[in-house]
């Protein structure tokens, strides 16, 4: 119990990095996701293919493997180390953000794609019939439907990403899991420390869960 209370402030400090990693990855991930979802719905076959294989690769391999390839793998490539890109790939922080962004981007693109597919043809025909142009239809008709349709699945993705950031500790970052492991390395008492760390994760997922729930209610046009 003493150890739990003692480790709590340090773990709370580390939570800031966890939140940072989650929010930044989700933020960039949305852009990546929208980009690839739009590519996927395009009529040009090669663009559609690129999007398909991107999501296939990043959804088909473990996040841990992705982060290891980007951090330890790319670190072995001589020409990369000598190029200007090394500024980005040298730091574990940016490597983690890149890995998380690409991973969540793949899932987000799939969520958005399926949401795009739920739009009924009749709705679009009616919109065009009213004389709206393509841009108007995208922003006023398609996007609101897509946002509402994808919200439950995306809420799930946010929670998965939050938990996924625990892998940042494998590339030397001291996030919540990283600091928990660090405390255990000197106290040798994993149970107490992980219970506290787990509770903090649980609290954060609770917040995300309710945030999404409130949003869902707000966007429920049927009411």
């Amino acid at each position: 119990m003493d150890l739990m209370i003692e480790s709590f402030p340090r773990l709370l400090d580390a939570t800031i990095l966890t939140i940072e990693l989650t929010l930044l990855s989700l933020f960039f991930g949305v852009f990546v996701g929208v980009f690839f979802a739009v590519l996927r719905t395009s009529n040009i076959k090669i663009l559609c293919c690129i999007s398909y294989y991107y999501s296939y690769i990043f959804r088909g391999t473990p996040l841990l493997v992705q982060i290891f390839i980007i951090y330890f793998g790319f670190g072995q490539v001589e020409w990369l180390r000598e190029s200007f890109l090394w500024i980005i790939f040298k730091e574990p922080y940016s490597c983690a953000i890149i890995a998380f962004t690409l991973n969540t981007g793949a899932y987000t693109s799939e969520i958005l794609r399926s949401a795009f597919e739920t739009i009924q043809k009749g709705v679009l025909e009616a919109a065009y019939g009213l004389g709206l142009n393509k841009i108007h239809v995208f922003f006023k008709i398609k996007l609101p439907i897509v946002v509402k349709q994808s919200l439950p699945a995306y809420g799930n993705e946010m929670i998965l990403m939050l938990k996924g950031t625990s892998l940042a500790s494998t590339v030397t970052l001291l996030d919540l899991t990283g600091v928990a492991k660090h405390i255990i390395s000197t106290t040798f008492r994993p149970v107490e420390v992980f219970i506290v760390a787990g509770s903090i994760y649980l609290l954060m997922t609770f917040i995300i869960h309710n945030f999404v729930k409130i949003l869902e209610k707000k966007l429920d046009y049927s009411k």
């Binding site: 330890f72 670190g75 030397t172 492991k181 390395s185 000197t186 040798f188 994993p190």
Partner: protein, 285 residues
């Protein structure tokens, strides 16, 4: 039907016989298998190294049947406490911090710690004695630590997590350095070679082994460290025993057995022999 019954019974009986004979005096030794040349794995995944061979000899002297099991370094002591195995032989130095949680046998080998950098680093050519012992103290040690502090302040140094090397850097003896902790020594070596960290701190043999096998220009710099945070040699980690329970008595006896076996191994020159084979010099103690 009778045939089946007999077959079934004989299998059942042999299982019981086998398991009891196996259970008698059988101990499990935990090791990391990722800290060459102390303990490592060959291409086929078989455990090899100084401690693997030493463990086999110690078990023969103790007349115990042993199995050596793998365990990630950062969970080594918790796994011992949770009885996943009965002893640790994983290049683990005997330190006061660890003694709060577990017991150690007498030391069987010295781990000489050293800093390493890539060739051409600005840290090469530090003016320090060849070796310092933090326990003895004195002006020579203080001067060396001052030189190190001046050279290392603000630098990024990689260490394996939960090691004496991490403890030393965190003690502040060499000033404020950025510490990066890694799960395995392999990862420390990779990032040192990649230039992500300015220097790394570990057993000197871990670096020379890596340099030899990878062909990378890893060089040792500064003094070798001993004493203080670096502990008093490498020993066998064993649960704290007491007389209040059967398991406690077993653990206390195991500690005695290990100490006796190490004595025997030392007297017969086995430890020296294995040390020279794996380290290239006599690290026995």
């Amino acid at each position: 039907m009778n045939k089946f019954k007999r077959l079934f019974l004989s299998i059942f009986a042999s299982i019981i016989l086998l398991s009891t004979s196996v259970l008698a005096d059988k101990i499990k030794i935990g090791t990391e298998g990722a800290y060459p040349p102390w303990n490592a794995k060959d291409e086929s995944g078989k455990l090899i190294g100084f401690e693997i061979e030493l463990a086999n000899f110690l078990c023969i002297y103790m007349k115990h049947e042993c199995t050596i099991v793998e365990q990630d370094w950062d969970g080594m002591i918790p796994a011992l406490v949770m009885r996943k195995f009965d002893a640790i032989m994983a290049g683990m130095s005997i330190t006061d911090e660890r003694m709060k949680t577990i017991n150690f046998s007498q030391g069987y080998a010295d781990e000489v710690a050293s800093l390493a950098v890539m060739k051409g680093s600005s840290l090469e050519g530090m003016d320090t004695p060849k070796a310092i012992n933090l326990s003895t103290g004195g002006s020579a040690v203080n001067n060396a630590l001052e030189t190190l502090t001046a050279a290392l302040t603000g630098k990024t140094i990689g260490v394996q997590t939960a090691t004496i090397h991490q403890n030393f850097l965190e003690s502040g003896d060499v000033g404020k350095v950025n510490i990066r902790t890694y799960k395995t020594q392999d990862e420390v070596n990779l990032d040192l070679a990649a230039g992500r960290i300015d220097a790394a701190l570990a057993a000197a043999v871990a670096f020379t082994d890596y340099a030899e096998k990878s062909g990378k220009d890893v060089v040792l710099v500064g003094p070798t460290f001993a004493g203080g945070a670096f502990g008093n040699g490498v020993g066998v980690g064993i649960r704290k025993g007491d007389n209040s329970s059967a398991q406690g008595k077993k653990d206390a006896k195991l500690l005695k057995d290990f100490n006796k076996a190490i004595d025997t191994a030392r007297k017969q020159g086995k430890i020296s022999e294995l040390a020279i084979k794996w380290f290239g010099f006599d690290a026995s103690m």
